[in-house]
């Protein structure tokens, strides 16, 4: 195989020299992986940044996509607070690009063939398995350039594999903590559930603030460091599998975060994907759900850029996307339901609800339908509302202070989707994360 030459990058922090160094440090990884990284690097450099005329980026703040100044942080480990305090199957904690804490799956689960490992380790020990699922169904919703950068530079990421008929009740947890000014990170997580397997993966994405306030409680932190994250997920649920994926981000107020998820559900699989966006300066979330087998059922929440493609007959999807917008937050919802000609009896529903918590928050909604089959039910709708004044007064009239009243009402707004989580500890942890947004 001839190695393609590396093209040079116009972005100062992401130079070919830096990339070459990144590769040389990972010479121990499989050749296919290193080749994929090189190809992705060249693709990243070849693709233009999104432009005004790009329909996928309508309403987006394109100036906010300026990558100048960002650098790939040197590997270093540090003490960082752990976000999850609920019972887990196993956990991997990243500080920037480094694993700083880790618990392993029980001997019992390991004996059943469950794999939960940082991506690097999975590539070394289960390279072929990773290769089968890595970007098997890429999402093409506008962020290809950022996905390419992710593939080129990803280090922090996890691989979860649950074989056929294995059910794991406790959630697996991956925590990404980004610390420092102008740092960037590229998480890539792959989840594979075999037929009839059942598992939950929770990914926390948080900014840890500057190095001077190490150890400070995350719940009260409001870091302001400029940071850049480009994350990618590949989620696969085989026939009859039940996958719950939760992504919860509390990035700093100056973080540019782009997350691109690809979800594939085979026949009779159920995927619940729940994404909580609580921070960031500009957070873009693309999600492409593919309902591959008849009867597959996809539930995906909070996503900003969903694309539901119905390929097979008799599939159902119901996607209530909910956002609560604080300060000058901005959300762009651009959903697309595509019903392919063979996908008769599709039942697809998209709903975008925004809760506006300030006068300066902005919500844009552009749901779309593209139907090529004739026997289908599809609908979409969008609403933006402020906090209900009567409800707020009712709470205050009971002596509840305004901050707490708002917290209760925002939690209530999210409860409609959070209550789909079976695990009560996880439910409580996420409610707590939302509550932390309202601490003064």
């Amino acid at each position: 195989m001839s190695a393609p030459a590396l093209s040079s990058s116009p972005v100062e922090g992401f130079t070919s020299t830096r990339f070459a160094q990144h590769l040389s440090h990972r010479a121990y990884l499989p050749a296919w992986w290193l080749e994929a990284k090189k190809a992705a690097w060249n693709q990243f450099n070849a693709l233009p940044l999104p432009s005004r005329t790009d329909e996928n980026w309508r309403f987006s703040d394109l100036k906010g996509l300026d990558l100048s100044g960002f650098t790939v942080p040197e590997d270093h480990s540090r003490q960082i607070p752990n976000v999850s305090s609920f019972p887990e199957a196993a956990e991997i904690v990243f500080s920037n690009r480094q694993v700083v804490a880790r618990s392993h799956v029980s001997a019992d689960l390991a004996a059943k063939g469950v794999i939960f490992a940082p991506l690097d380790e999975a590539l070394r020990q289960h390279g072929d398995l990773v290769r089968t699922y890595f970007q098997k169904h890429p999402a093409n919703l506008g962020s290809e350039k950022f996905v390419a950068l992710n593939t080129a530079l990803t280090v922090a990421g996890g691989f979860l594999y649950v074989p056929a008929d294995v059910e794991v009740a406790l959630p697996f947890v991956i925590q990404h903590t980004l610390t420092g000014h102008n740092v960037s990170v590229f998480p890539h997580t792959i989840v594979v559930l075999g037929p009839r397997a059942k598992a939950t993966l929770v990914e926390f994405f948080v900014s840890g603030g500057s190095s001077s306030d190490a150890g400070r409680s995350l719940a009260n932190a409001a870091p302001t460091e400029r940071q850049f994250v480009s994350g990618v997920n590949d989620l696969h649920a085989a026939e009859g599998a039940q996958l719950t994926y939760v992504g919860a981000q509390r990035w700093s107020r100056e973080t540019l975060a782009i997350q691109v998820n690809s979800i594939a559900a085979e026949r009779d699989a159920r995927v619940l994907s729940l994404n909580l966006h609580l921070g960031g300066r500009q957070a873009r979330h693309e999600s492409h759900s593919r309902l591959l087998g008849p009867g597959a059922d996809g539930d995906s929440e909070f996503d900003q850029r969903p694309l539901q493609t119905h390929v097979s007959p008799r599939t159902t999807s119901n996607l209530p996307y909910k956002n609560a917008l604080l300060d000058t937050a901005k959300t762009i919802f651009s959903g697309l339901i595509i019903v392919e000609p063979d996908a008769q009896k599709t039942d697809a529903y998209q709903k975008n609800r925004n809760l506006m918590l300030s006068d300066t928050a902005e919500a844009h909604s552009l749901p779309g339908l593209e139907i090529q089959a004739n026997d289908v039910k599809c609908s979409h709708g969008s609403t933006s509302a402020r906090i209900d004044g009567e409800q707020e007064f009712y709470l205050k009239a009971r002596g509840i202070n305004p901050t707490e009243a708002r917290r209760l009402l925002v939690s209530a707004f999210f409860e409609e989707v959070l209550n789909k989580l079976e695990n009560e500890d996880l439910h409580a942890a996420l409610t707590g994360l939302i509550a932390a947004q309202f601490k003064k």
Partner: protein
């Protein structure tokens, strides 16, 4: 003895401050007393009670409301509540996604000193005891506040909150409306159990019926934004027998007398 004094109160909608709805109302309630305000629909009873509670739709254009010697007009609604005021709403809000248990808990917690933790076991014990008393199914604790409740369930839930929060003064706005006779008895029993020298009640009602169950110490007739007649419980019976037209005619006669004087 604590008191709630309403002094020459004028209330208007915030949107139309020059069109008063409550027009110079005077009333003093002391703890231990139950006052009833009766009046026809649209006379400003709900406006009065919501303005006292601090509802942002209304402005108090003149006059004052004094709780224990201190004006509450500069206080936020939540501060007024923590100072001992309670409003049992005529139309309680539905709050999907907030359970009764969490809602009442937040209200109880709000009354604790900074840093003081709520004793969850004691809280639930007390909550269940009050629910049993008001014949509210314990399963309601996990239901969303008022969502899908019948009229009677909503009103019982208001009384439950009042029982848990133990206000000094409670303004009860048409707590009897929409109740069948059994629910009315349960609600009245709940209120009567709370009666005593630690609580003052302003009972707003359209009908005399409630006053058979919660017997008031004073009855006031409200008409066109002010109190036009006060008496003891026999006034309620007289009003029931003669109807609101009687008040209207008396009023017209006396103002004619004033005009002729």
């Amino acid at each position: 003895m604590p008191s709630l004094e309403i002094r020459d109160l004028f209330v208007a909608l915030a949107a139309t401050p020059d069109k008063p709805i409550v027009k110079g109302l005077n009333l003093t309630i002391r703890t231990g007393e139950v006052h009833a305000i009766m009046g026809p629909n649209g006379t400003g009873k709900s406006t009065l009670s919501k303005a006292i509670a601090g509802h942002p739709d209304y402005v108090i254009t003149s006059g004052d409301v004094i709780l224990d010697g201190k004006s509450i007009l500069e206080m936020e609604p939540d501060e007024r509540a923590r100072a001992g005021l309670f409003l049992a709403f005529q139309y309680p809000s539905e709050i999907p996604g907030v359970s009764i248990a969490n809602f009442v808990r937040a209200a109880v917690q709000a009354r604790l000193a900074e840093g003081e933790e709520l004793d969850a076991t004691a809280y639930y014990k007390r909550l269940y005891a009050k629910m049993d008393l008001l014949k509210i199914d314990r399963k309601f604790t996990s239901r969303s506040v008022n969502e899908g409740f019948s009229g009677g369930e909503k009103k019982r839930c208001e009384i439950l909150q009042m029982a848990m929060l133990e206000p000094t003064f409670s303004l009860m706005d048409e707590t009897d409306s929409g109740l069948d006779i059994d629910a009315l008895r349960i609600v009245a029993e709940g209120v009567n159990l709370m009666r005593g020298d630690k609580l003052g009640v302003l009972l707003i009602t359209h009908y005399q019926r409630l006053l058979d169950y919660i017997v008031p110490d004073f009855v006031h007739v409200m008409y066109d934004g002010r109190i036009v007649k006060s008496g003891d419980k026999s006034l309620a019976l007289e009003l029931e027998a003669k109807g609101y037209d009687w008040v209207k005619q008396e009023l017209a006669a006396s103002s004619a007398a004033v005009a002729n004087a």
